[in-house]
């Protein structure tokens, strides 16, 4: 059964193809069944492949299958080869598992939508590309998946394309991604040029073995990270993610929380040989991650749209994953990726449930007191909020802790400090969201109050399943203070990421755990004070520091800056080119050749005067010339 692991990406691909081609003719029930079962099949296959994997000796634990030769020119070859090792196993399970739950949720959420088949077709297609991305054995095939998920993201953000805001958001996402991809392609090309092969094993080996010069390693690593910054929404290419909330909420959950945005993290972890060989690149990665974490968290403090808060939260949390990878704790980064997939998708789906029950309201200023009316959504949402804040014993606590401890242990104190600040902010804004939405006085509009209802079972069941995972998943990655062999997750990934943590005094580690717990609980408590006890305080605080408040609400005016410095000059430039080159040169050439042909035709038609003598003259001229040729040129 494990021999069929290469079908993991292909089953959703087939389902997507069927839905795209014949979707309009299949019943909704059949579409739902097919789409969900396709992803479930991938999940089951991933699970069996994992089971097979754990029985293999750790050093050689991988399954490989080449499907076709694809590119082969001279010494360079980039075949379509899927492989399955511990890192891929984790990613596949996350993508297909969480993906399956989100597919099921979507059946309920999108039940009224008229483009049902297109939605599920695109969702399946996305799953296919994401699985290709994580199962690729070489960087070229991974890039195919990379581009594919970017495309699906564009199509799904702009799913309701009749809305101009959605269409613009989709375009923004794609274009910003493209800028990142330019860096990625350059990095990829440098690597292929110097290593001679796109295979990850060869690239990691070449970097670790010192075959590549340190300058090249750093350059390639940084360029690839530019691509990751675009795909995973880090500074400076994060601006598309908040806008991407225009898409359906399950899409936000799947693509912009659990999977696509984590592709950058996966890429860094997969190329850990490269990043480990360049401390400079690692520092850059970690630093950008840390700054992004705090930067995004600060913007989440003042957002009033429930989905936008979660979007900035995602940007911030991915920053944490990059901190982990940047300091060399790749396993910790991937661990946080996994737990984040659980609680962030839960948060988004929960938000979707809230929005659904309020018939479309997304402004948290118009919510409040919902915990009485949403008895299944609320507890799940609360569990996720606790998890993301890093409250002890939930999954987020263990994963965030692993990252911060590694940062401190590696001597990156500035990064650690920023991460700590971010943790506090995270707890604060998360519980701000919870308190404003579910607690307190109801600030609902009349319409919303009348239609208020809990979401159907098909939407709340995935929430509950995800809540269980958000709560318990941490226990597979216990910190070293608990026991040497307690970190099952880290040990599982060790053959791939080869991260050896220096032995660390237990006392320091306990202190660190205490400090980060204090930050989390502190953040929660302050949120309680702000929004439950002294609910008028936030307003007065904002009035006291209006400029700071405005900057935060205005998202530091980054979008406006980009617009002025990059977008408008580009648009003006292309308008100029259009007016002077497109219209004058290209159109001119085409129209010119057409009118030249026209004129030639007119000219020649003047020869046809209709008079016999003129025709006869032409005859005579022809005969004279012909005779001349024969006689004198011997033709």
């Amino acid at each position: 059964m494990a021999g069929f692991f290469w079908l993991i990406p292909l089953i959703p691909a087939l389902s997507s193809l069927v839905l795209v081609l014949f979707g309009s003719r299949i019943s909704r029930k059949a579409i739902s069944l097919q789409a969900c079962l396709a992803v479930l099949a991938s999940f089951i296959l991933s699970f069996t492949a994992l089971a097979h994997l754990v029985r293999m000796p750790p050093e050689s634990a991988r399954l490989t299958k080449t499907l076709l030769g694809w590119i082969s020119s001279g010494a360079f070859s980039a075949p379509v080869t899927f492989f399955f090792d511990p890192l891929t196993a984790v990613m596949c399970l996350v993508v297909s598992g969480v993906g399956f739950l989100i597919h099921v949720y979507s059946v309920g959420y999108m039940a009224e939508d008229r483009s049902y088949a297109r939605y599920f077709g695109l969702l399946n297609l996305f799953t296919f590309f994401m699985l290709v991305l994580v199962m690729a054995s070489n960087i070229v095939l991974m890039f195919v998946g990379w581009e594919g998920v970017g495309l699906c993201s564009y199509l799904l953000i702009g799913f309701w394309f009749e809305r101009p805001a959605a269409a613009k958001a989709g375009l923004k996402a794609f274009i910003v991604n493209r800028i990142g991809d330019a860096g990625f392609i350059l990095g990829m090309l440098f690597l292929i040029l110097k290593v001679g092969s796109p295979e990850f094993a060869k690239i990691n080996g070449a970097a670790a073995g010192g075959v590549l010069g340190p300058g090249l390693v750093t350059l390639a690593a940084v360029l690839l990270f530019v691509g990751a910054a675009g795909k995973s929404a880090q500074i400076p290419l994060y601006v598309w993610l908040p806008d991407a909330m225009e898409g359906p909420t399950p899409v936000s959950a799947l693509i912009h929380a659990a999977t696509m945005v984590t592709a950058g993290v996966y890429m860094v972890a997969r190329l850990n040989g490269l990043y480990s060989a360049s401390p400079a690149a690692g520092t850059i990665v970690a630093f950008i991650g840390a700054v992004t974490a705090v930067f995004a968290a600060s913007m989440a403090l003042v957002q009033t749209d429930i989905k936008k808060v979660l979007a900035y939260s995602t940007i911030s949390q991915i920053g944490y994953m990059f901190i982990g990878c940047g300091v060399g704790a790749y396993a910790a980064g991937i661990f946080h990726l996994t737990t984040h997939a659980f609680f962030k998708s839960l948060l988004f789906l929960g938000a979707g449930s809230v929005i659904h029950s309020l018939s479309g309201e997304q402004d948290i200023r118009k919510m409040g007191g919902l915990r009485k009316h949403l008895p299944r959504t609320f507890p799940a949402f609360l569990v996720a909020a606790l998890a993301i804040s890093g409250i002890p014993f939930l999954s987020g606590f263990f994963s965030k802790d692993a990252i911060l401890t590694s940062a401190f242990a590696g001597g990156h104190y500035a990064v650690w400090a920023l991460g700590l600040v971010g943790a506090g902010l995270t707890a604060f804004y998360m519980f701000r969201l919870v308190f404003l939405t579910f607690f307190g006085e109801s600030r609902l509009g009349e319409e919303a109050k009348r239609h208020l209802h809990e979401s159907p079972g098909i939407m709340t069941t995935p929430l509950i399943i995800l809540a269980v995972f958000s709560a318990l998943a941490g226990f597979i990655g216990l910190p070293a203070v608990v026991g040497e062999k307690a970190d099952l997750f880290g040990r599982f990934l060790e053959p791939v990421v080869r991260a050896a943590m220096a032995p660390f005094p237990a006392a320091v580690e306990w202190n660190l755990i205490l400090v980060s717990t204090a930050a989390a609980v502190g953040g929660l408590f302050i949120a309680y004070l702000f929004y439950i006890r002294y609910s008028l305080f936030p307003g007065r605080l904002a009035a006291r520091v209006p400029r700071i408040y405005r900057v935060l609400v205005g998202k530091y005016y980054v979008d406006e800056f980009y617009d002025a410095v990059i977008v408008r000059p580009a648009v003006r430039g292309s308008e100029f080119v259009y007016a002077h080159f497109d219209l004058k040169v290209i159109d001119g050439a085409l129209n010119g050749s057409a009118s030249a042909a026209n004129l030639a035709g007119l000219g020649f038609s003047r020869l046809q005067t209709g008079l016999i003598k003129d025709y006869a003259l032409a005859f005579l001229l022809g005969v004279v010339l012909f005779l001349g040729f024969i006689l004198f040129l011997k033709i």
Binding site: K613, L617, L620, L621, V624, L627, L631
Partner: protein, 165 residues
Amino acid sequence: MAWVIFGFLSLLCAGSVVAMVLSKNQAHNALFLVLSFASLGGIFGLLDAPFVAAAQVIIYAGAIMVLFLFAIMMINLKEGLPPERKRVIYGISAVLGCVLFAELLIVARRAFFHGAEAAPAGGANPAGLGHLLFTDYLYPFELTSLLLVAALVGALTLAGKKGSS
């Protein structure tokens, strides 16, 4: 002796063609042409082609030119063409005509470069010609008769059209 006849006949032929060019009256033109064809018949005779000579006189001078004259009669032209203007085409055609003349003379010279002067052709008499026509060139012969029928029918159709002025 033969030269005298040749010279006389050729002068007559060419001269009547020139006269045809110079004359403005269609009937005169036709008559000059008859004279030209008749003298040409004589020249054919000088070329050891008696049958063709006879055919030329009978068919061309006799039948075709009579046809022309009938047409002229039916057309019943009034005189008075407006005076000819000087047109470019006359100049060009004159020049081209001279060039053509020169080129054809060169052709003629090359054709007779070897100065071939053979004896009179073997099957040049009517009997020999008939033999050729009915054996080697039977198909063209039959097809030509078809052509004549077609021309006849065509002319009848064209001439018989009513009310299509």
